[in-house]
């Protein structure tokens, strides 16, 4: 067998050396009635050529960046990924190694995590970042749990624009430890309003997504004031991490914790995963942080090296009193993001953010000029915004689809108060003429 070297001759040698008559005999601890007495009912094994042909056929049925233009974001963003990201992250030393518990033989992974932590601190304006959580949604839930532990309060107030899937996951997670989630409402311009009325002395934290699910930029200063007043933590959740390169760092605006999704940094959309949950906090809160942390230290000769540290927070040491149950996280995605950010650098990332922003501003200006289309929300945006369409989101998107465009998200299930509308995202992967084609399709005027 190609993945299993031992041959029957090897097996015979080994059985003899072990001193048992058969492989079967090794399974003697399994009671006979617990054994499976038939072969598994699975398709027979196939050659590599056959498996790839089969999977190629399946993959060929899906739309992808290889076949369509994407204006669909809503938490998962189509961005260009430089070739060096794949080339480096696919090195076997990174892909086929384990969590770096043995630091002397894992310095590659450890140094990269330390670099990632540094970058995220810089981008968020906070002091400590961890080595990744599963995704933006569970990172948000972990941030809320962290706030509950820090404040010993149960209530979580969320902005109107927290991604609905994140809201769901938050609900799933905080129920166990007795948390409850209260959502603020959306004002006419798309931003969260009346936060103050929801926050009280029971409130552990306010979670504000920036930019919001519908693309608008929230007023973080207002949220901060409310949080401070009640001793609650301000948690800023970011789903489009590229926005961090343009917008003021949440930490500088008073956020205590930044959580979210870093998929935009060199991680493929991948039908939704694996992505990269990020979490950063103030130094004072480090011992309540979930997940892995890498720290600097020295060896016996004083040479610098890196190790997993502060693990007394973690499940493998603290068990039921751990800050989280997370173990395996998203290491390789973290590596991709670290490579991506190293390639882009501060100027490249800023320019990319500005380009995304400029495309959205252009598109919005065109929407305003296109009969049949509307901009229902007036608040400023980054690279994503709501477009009102003449008939229905579904019909408008279907028109785009027949022009080879995945035109955005139909907002009917998410925000039906806006009338027929779609959420449109413009990244560097769409050109001006793509935008023009999209708008014509949404309006029903073009092709």
């Amino acid at each position: 067998m190609r993945f299993v070297p031992n041959t029957n001759a090897d097996v015979a040698t080994m059985l003899e050396r072990i001193g048992v008559p058969s492989v079967e005999a090794l399974f003697s601890p399994i009671p006979a009635r617990a054994r499976l007495s038939r072969a598994l009912d699975l398709p027979p094994g196939a050659s590599e050529q056959e498996v790839l042909a089969e999977l190629g056929t399946l993959a060929g049925r899906d739309a992808s960046l290889a076949s369509h233009r994407y204006f669909l974001g809503a938490g998962v963003y189509p961005h260009f990924i430089p070739a060096a990201v794949d080339a480096l992250a696919s090195r076997a030393e990174f892909t086929t190694s384990y969590t770096p518990y043995q630091p002397e033989i894992s310095q590659g992974t450890l140094q990269a995590i330390f670099e990632w932590q540094t970058m995220i601190c810089g981008l968020t304006g906070l002091d400590v970042a961890n080595a990744s959580l599963y995704d933006g949604a569970s990172a948000t839930a972990e941030a809320a749990l962290m706030a509950m532990r820090l404040t010993r309060r149960p209530k979580i107030v969320i902005s109107a624009g927290l991604h609905p899937h994140y809201r769901d996951v938050l609900g799933t997670y905080v129920g166990g430890p007795g948390g409850k989630v209260v959502s603020a409402t959306r004002s006419q311009d798309g931003r969260t309003c009346a936060l103050a009325s929801l926050v009280d002395e029971e409130t552990a934290c306010i979670i504000v997504q920036q930019p919001a699910f519908l693309g608008v930029l929230e007023d973080l200063a207002a949220a901060e004031a409310v949080a401070r007043e009640h001793g609650a933590l301000l948690i800023v959740c970011v789903t489009e991490a590229l926005s961090l390169a343009l917008l003021r760092a949440p930490g500088d605006l008073g956020a205590d914790v930044v959580c979210g999704e870093a998929q935009s940094f060199g991680v493929p959309m991948g039908f939704g995963g694996p992505h990269l949950g990020l979490l950063a906090a103030r130094a004072a809160h480090v011992r309540q942080m979930p997940g892995r942390l890498v720290g600097e230290t020295v060896d016996g000769q004083g040479r610098r090296g890196f190790v997993l540290t502060l693990s007394t927070r973690e499940q493998h040491i603290r068990r039921e009193r751990a800050t989280s149950n997370i173990c395996t996280n998203q290491g390789l995605m973290l590596l991709r993001a670290t490579i991506y950010l190293a390639l882009l650098g501060p100027r490249g990332l800023r320019r990319l953010a500005e380009l995304n922003f400029a495309k959205a501003e252009y598109a919005k200006a065109q929407v305003a000029r296109t009969p049949g289309l509307r901009l229902p929300l007036a608040a400023p945006t980054f690279n994503e915004f709501v477009v009102g369409v003449p008939d229905s989101g579904a019909a408008a998107l279907a028109r785009a689809q027949s022009a080879g465009i995945v035109g955005g998200l139909d907002l009917a299930p998410y925000a039906d108060d806006l009338g027929p509308a779609v959420l449109v995202c413009t990244t560097e992967l769409v050109s001006r003429s793509d935008i023009d084609r999209l708008l014509a399709a949404l309006a029903g005027s073009g092709r």
Binding site: M1, T96, Y101, T118, G122, Y173, P274, N325, N329, V406
Partner: protein, 519 residues
């Protein structure tokens, strides 16, 4: 020990050839490399952003100056060649499955077939958006649907959700379903039983779900005994979390009886599937009485560990728990709904969502490719060879490293440092010395109930002669421990950095780089 002489000599250990060589490893060159930030120079660039084809806008004008940041600290400035060299160089400091035996017990560091990587990179999987219409996603949905069915068959469970992103999230999903199950019956229970040999994620997940954990002691034979379970079991116990084979590498022989005891008191049994590799095609948790379990696709189903993830931790349940599965679930359409597949969110009793999307889909694709490659016979061969390899190591090492258990083990064996008492050499030293011999150390000091545990899981990816080489290294270390204990205690000697001061790291945490002036 029979056959010692039959073991092929590791290459290059003959007299003259052995200078500077230690077993499977040798002295070589390591490349130094600073941090990215130390390499950074103002004005360097590693990637060019395309020219804009739309009118330029000044963000501060539109958003207000206060909303726009001025600089981006923490990002280095490097050219592409420097980034490539940086990561290539630091990669050489890692050990990897592709370099050799990676005997981490409980981690199942099996070979990750290259075909899986090609499969996962197909654009229809890698570059599709989770919210694109189902009509544009029929390929991946079909795959997910089939994978669910295959995992159910392998495990003997009725339904599977692919959503959890790793084993621990699978545990969380499972325990939450247990809670939802009891609550749906108006039954409020507060405790979960967890054997003392369990992995830390078990109690952590139970606690996160709001349960109190009760530890159940293993017997002196390393097994869970029905009496202990019976004693701890009550109507207030929601579930027992069982790892089978357990973390000592032993099959829980009394599993059927234990499950009956728990069920009799209205409890459910959670199965930690981390060690499923041993049972592939041989026995199925679902047939043993397990009600809900997780899979670690990054262990049993060969998706690469990635230096710490991503993994995937699907959760399987019996029909009784199916109404509580996380949403969405993949559904095959039929009848008036037409052909094909859709994502179903209408699951009124679901515990809810666990992931922003559908989990770590790229890992699911890899696991599917693996299942398709192996088929029923191949899977069974994996289970058999994983167990044979572990028993072979146990047999060959038993006299030098006092084993924690007797009798046939399953996929891994737990040894100890007991025989080195008096030499000052500990399990930690043996682990570090293995590095000089060219191997990654095993899992150490786990399970917590074994003093000085060395937990070795070879997996089915190892060959007989590969195991013999590893045995030779461990036997040589045992000799060194007796004859040259300082050599072992000072290990590793051949790495770029020697033993690192973990205490210092925790006492004075330095968790990010800062420019010299700002530290």
């Amino acid at each position: 020990m029979s056959g010692e002489s039959g073991a092929p000599k590791p290459h290059g250990t003959d007299s003259a050839a052995s200078i500077g060589r230690v077993g499977h490893g040798a002295r070589g060159i390591a490349y130094e490399e600073p941090l990215l930030f130390e390499r950074s120079r103002p004005g360097r660039e590693g990637c060019r952003v395309p020219a804009s084809d739309v009118p330029s806008v000044v963000a501060a004008d539109r958003l207000g100056a206060a909303a726009v940041r001025e600089d981006l600290p923490g990002l280095p400035e490097l050219s592409e060649v420097e980034v490539v060299r940086h990561f290539t160089r630091i990669s050489t400091w890692n050990y990897a499955v592709d370099l050799g035996l990676y005997p981490l017990g409980s981690c199942t560091m099996k070979y990750n077939p290259k075909l899986n990587e090609v499969a996962a990179s197909l654009p229809g999987f890698a570059h599709a958006h989770p919210l694109q219409p189902a009509s544009l996603s029929q390929g991946i949905l079909a795959l997910l649907h089939d994978l669910e069915r295959h995992l159910a068959e392998v495990s003997g469970m009725d339904r599977v959700s692919l959503q959890p992103a790793a084993g621990a999230q699978g545990e969380l999903a499972g325990v939450m379903m247990i809670r939802a199950y009891h609550e749906s019956r108006g039954d409020r229970r507060s405790k979960v039983l967890i054997p003392d040999s369990a992995h830390g994620t078990n109690p952590a997940s139970a606690a996160l779900s709001g349960y109190t954990c009760v530890s159940v002691p293993s017997g002196p034979d390393g097994l869970l005994h029905p009496e202990q379970v019976a004693e701890a079991m009550s109507e207030d116990v929601a579930a027992l979390m069982l790892t089978n084979p357990n973390t000592l590498g032993l099959f829980e022989t009394h599993v059927l009886e234990i499950c009956e005891i728990v069920h009799a008191k209205g409890g459910l049994v959670y199965g930690d599937g981390a060690n499923l590799n041993a049972l592939l095609g041989i026995a199925r948790p679902g047939d043993l009485g397990i009600d809900v379990m997780h899979f670690n696709l990054h262990k049993t189903f060969s998706t690469p560990h990635g230096g710490g993830g991503p993994g995937a931790g699907p959760v399987g349940v019996k029909n009784s728990l199916a109404p509580f599965l996380p949403v969405p679930v993949v559904r095959r359409l039929g009848g008036s709904e037409g052909e094909g597949f859709a994502l179903d969110y209408e699951f009124p009793r679901s515990i809810g969502r666990l992931h922003a999307n559908f989990g770590n889909v790229g890992m699911l694709v890899r696991a599917f490719a693996y299942l398709r490659s192996l088929g029923p016979d191949g899977l069974r061969r994996c289970g058999e060879m994983a167990v044979l390899n572990a028993n072979y190591l146990l047999a060959r090492l038993a006299t030098a490293y006092a084993p924690a258990t007797t009798g046939p083990v399953m996929h891994e064996c737990v040894l100890t440092d007991r025989l080195f008492e008096g030499t000052g050499v500990t399990t930690m030293d043996v682990a570090k010395r293995l590095i000089d011999h060219g191997y990654h150390p095993p899992t150490i000091y786990f399970p917590l109930i074994v003093h000085g545990a060395l937990m070795i899981e070879p997996t089915e990816s190892e060959s007989l002669e590969g195991l013999d080489q590893f045995v030779a290294a461990l036997l040589e270390i045992a000799r060194e421990a007796r004859e040259e204990p300082d050599l072992v205690r000072g290990a590793p000697h051949h790495t770029r950095v020697s033993r690192l001061d973990e205490t210092r790291a925790a006492r004075r945490p330095v968790l990010r780089w800062q420019p010299a002036g700002e530290r």
